[in-house]
C-alpha cells in the first residue's frame, strides 16, 4: 500500500465557511470524483446547571493525535473506495455556533463516501486524544464529555 504523508489536521480557532467552500472548490479538477460527503461538527450552546455554553476551548496531545489521524487515514483508504479525504479539527477557542470539525471524503460513487464519513467521525470521537473545556459566559467551565 502506498504510504501517504501525514497531513496537518489542527487549525487554530473555528473552521470558517470560507475555508470549507475553498476546500470543495479545489476538487473541481478531480473529475473521477462522483460523490462528496461532508461532516461538520458545530459547538452547541448546551445549558448545564442553568448556564449556557459560550465556547469550547480544545486542546490535544498533538503529537499522538497527528499519529492517530495518520493511522485513521491509512485505515480509511484501505477500508473504503475513496479518491481523497481531508480532516480538520480546531484547537483553541471555538464559540457556540461555529464549526470545530470538518471531515470531507470523496469517492467515485456515493455509498463509499457515506460509509467512510460516518466511520471516520466515530473513530475521531473514540480514539483521538482531544479534550474540550466548555466555557460559560461567566468564564467558569466544565470538561466536555462525549456522548
Amino acid at each position: 500500500m502506498k504510504e501517504r504523508k501525514p497531513h496537518k489536521v489542527f487549525l487554530t480557532g473555528p473552521i470558517t465557511p470560507q475555508f470549507i467552500a475553498d476546500s470543495i472548490a479545489k476538487h473541481s479538477i478531480k473529475t473521477t470524483i462522483g460523490a462528496h460527503d461532508i461532516f461538520l461538527g458545530q459547538v452547541r450552546r448546551d445549558v448545564i446547571e442553568n448556564k449556557a455554553v459560550h465556547a469550547i476551548e480544545y486542546s490535544a496531545y498533538e503529537e499522538m493525535a497527528e499519529e492517530k489521524f495518520h493511522e485513521l487515514r491509512e485505515a480509511a483508504f484501505a477500508k473504503f473506495q475513496l479518491t481523497c479525504m481531508h480532516i480538520y479539527h480546531s484547537k483553541g477557542k471555538v464559540k457556540a455556533g461555529e464549526i470545530c470539525l470538518f471531515v470531507f471524503v470523496s469517492s467515485k460513487h456515493r455509498s463509499s463516501a457515506f460509509e467512510a464519513c460516518r466511520w471516520i467521525v466515530e473513530e475521531i470521537k473514540n480514539n483521538v486524544p482531544i479534550w474540550g473545556k466548555e466555557i460559560f459566559e461567566d468564564e467558569t467551565y466544565v470538561w466536555k464529555e462525549n456522548s
Binding site: 486542546s59 499522538m64 470539525l101 480514539n127 486524544p129 482531544i130 479534550w131 470538561w143 464529555e145 462525549n146
Partner: protein, 77 residues
C-alpha cells in the same frame, strides 16, 4: 530511572502542571501509584496511559527515554 510524564485535560488541574519527572519507577503501574499517592484526587479520575504515544493496555515496563502520558476520556469533535 527518570521518566517524563505528560498530563492532559482535567488532569493538569489536579497535578498543577502539564509535565513532571518521576524517578525510581520501572513500569507504568508504579508511575500511576507514585503519582496517585502524591495527588490522591487522581484515584477518582478515569484516564488511560500511553507510552511513546501508544496506549498501554495493562502494565508496561519502561525504558529510558520513554514518554508517558495520562489521558482523560477523549472528547474531540
Amino acid at each position: 530511572m527518570n521518566s517524563r510524564v505528560r498530563l492532559f485535560g482535567s488532569l493538569v488541574e489536579i497535578v498543577g502542571k502539564s509535565e513532571l519527572n518521576v524517578s525510581g519507577c520501572s513500569d507504568t503501574q508504579e508511575v500511576k501509584e507514585k503519582l496517585a499517592s502524591e495527588f490522591p484526587q487522581l484515584r477518582k479520575c478515569e484516564f488511560l496511559i500511553s507510552v511513546d504515544r501508544k496506549l498501554v493496555k495493562n502494565n508496561q515496563r519502561l525504558e529510558p527515554g520513554n514518554e508517558i502520558a495520562f489521558l482523560p476520556p477523549f472528547a474531540g469533535g
